[in-house]
């Protein structure tokens, strides 16, 4: 499946500034794997030492948190849009 992954501003330095990356994958985990295969610098921001998704990075499939679907095993359909939403703290002091 060809899917699009939306990259948030804080992670764009690791995707050469791209705000969306198109990848192949049949599950969420596959698609994220394809993403970090191309942009290796993202890996440490998305994955912890054990390879799991970091707890301050949420991934949404069509507006739904994958934690409440089947996690990284959630199947994808052609043209699906994944959104990565990391925790940000700025309030602009």
């Amino acid at each position: 499946m060809t899917v699009s992954i939306r990259i948030p501003t804080p992670l764009r330095p690791y995707t050469d500034g791209e705000s969306a990356v198109t990848v192949e994958g049949s599950t969420v985990g596959d698609a994220l794997g394809s993403l970090t295969a191309v942009h290796a610098g993202l890996t440490k921001h998305l994955r912890d030492d054990k390879g799991g998704l970091r707890s301050f990075v949420n991934v949404y499939l069509s507006g739904e948190d994958i934690r409440f679907l089947d996690g990284e095993g959630t199947p994808l359909t052609e043209g699906a849009v994944l959104t990565i939403v990391p925790s940000i703290a700025g309030g602009s002091r």
Binding site: D65, P86, S92
Partner: protein
């Protein structure tokens, strides 16, 4: 509890609210009888406080320990050129009194801590999170959960913002969204990343809107939804937010600086509890060593826009800290390397990255204080930002 009456002046002032069926006399009296606590009087707090004051919220508390700086004025519109150098809470209180003298303003010129949060929060109906750091965000969340108060959330980075309403009518809270903060070093602060000045205006106004809706009990709030805003794409996106059944109940306040591994402000860029594999040198010591023949390779790890503002003429290379690993094999291994950024935070990360890649720890030097420290203490002709 009976609602306070509006006097003749207040009726004239709030007339555009009074003729709205959704607010009306009863809603406006409800606003007058309500109270809101705003944590932070920065970019988010500025528009929020001004609009809530104008809207007639009867009692507004403000918590901040910072002082107005010229670099705040690009986005913190409650402050002005005339209040640079005075405390933010005093500056904000002055502006609120001018906007609406009917508002009671309570000022808390102190850092919010686990020791004072419950006491400060207790009298207020709604708490608004306009802070700039993870430790305070988790503290605000947990105190709201313990006290059962709604927490109107907003957060920003560069061109993107997030907003939601937490802990409202049994809805999810901040920990349901993010159980844990990022480890120090993985997410840059606003001082590092920059922020479009209008962005906190948009997010702060969304927070103000949600606050009024909660106080009035009208409309559909952002409870259970996370709103994302991208100023560059000019797009809004809505994500579903649910309670995380695995989340441990929040029953007490903890040490949030320890929990987040970072200080509760973005002035202090130092990382807590590190086992550093590089040297630190402050600007004065660096000046002295450079003056006596030290010839390190000098790497500036700021962004190109920052280098356009000011640079150290004797720097050998400019490379953003996120790319340091990529160019590591182009850096000398047989020379000392002096790395600097704005304040010393990103350069410390760059030093750590190079140390991990096998650069000798005695060859890696972090310029503590960065180019801003250099401008303040060594070369005052340089501009600061």
């Amino acid at each position: 509890m009976s609602l306070p009456e509006l006097n003749r002046d207040e009726i004239a002032r709030y007339s555009r609210h009074l003729i709205l069926d959704e607010v009306g006399m009863e809603g406006q009296r409800r606003l007058k009888g309500s109270s809101v606590l705003c944590i932070g009087t920065g970019g988010l707090g500025s528009p929020l406080l001004m609009y809530l004051a104008a809207a007639g919220v009867g009692r507004i508390g403000i918590v901040d320990f910072d002082v107005v700086d010229t670099s705040n004025l690009q986005r913190q519109v409650i402050h002005g050129t005339s209040t640079v150098g005075i405390s933010k809470v005093q500056s904000a209180a002055k502006r609120i009194a001018d906007i609406n003298p009917h508002v009671q303003v309570d000022i808390f010129e102190e850092a919010l801590t686990s020791d004072n949060a419950i006491r400060i929060f207790k009298p207020y109906d709604v708490v608004v999170d306009g802070t700039d750091n993870f430790p305070t965000r988790y503290l605000v969340n947990d105190a709201c959960v313990i006290l059962g108060k709604p927490n109107v959330y907003g957060s920003i980075f560069k061109f993107e913002g997030q907003a939601s309403v937490f802990n409202y009518q049994g809805g999810p809270n901040y920990r349901d969204l993010y159980p844990e903060p990022p480890p120090p070093g993985l997410v840059p602060s606003c001082a590092e990343g920059g922020v479009l000045g209008i962005l906190p205006g948009v997010i702060g106004c969304i927070q103000a809107t949600e606050t009024l809706k909660v106080l009035l009990g009208k409309g559909d709030t952002l409870s259970g939804r996370l709103l994302l805003y991208d100023a560059m794409a000019m797009s809004f996106q809505e994500l579903k937010l649910r309670k995380d059944p695995k989340l441990a109940p929040i029953t007490e306040l903890i040490d949030y600086q320890q929990f987040c591994g970072m200080p509760a402000n973005d002035h202090d860029q130092s990382l807590v509890a590190t086992d550093e594999q590089f040297q630190r040198i402050d600007v004065l010591a660096a000046r002295d060593r450079l003056g006596t023949g030290w010839k390190p390779y000098v790497l500036d790890v700021r962004g190109a826009s920052e280098a356009d503002i000011v640079r150290l003429e004797w720097a050998d290379r400019l490379q953003p800290h996120s790319q340091v690993a990529d160019i590591a094999n182009e850096l000398p291994r047989d020379r000392d390397i002096l790395i600097h950024c704005k304040m010393g935070g990103r350069s410390a990360k760059a030093c750590a990255t190079l140390a991990e890649l096998g650069f000798a720890s005695e060859r890696l030097f972090n310029l503590d204080g960065g180019i801003v420290g250099w401008a303040k203490e060594v070369d005052p002709t340089l501009p600061t930002y």
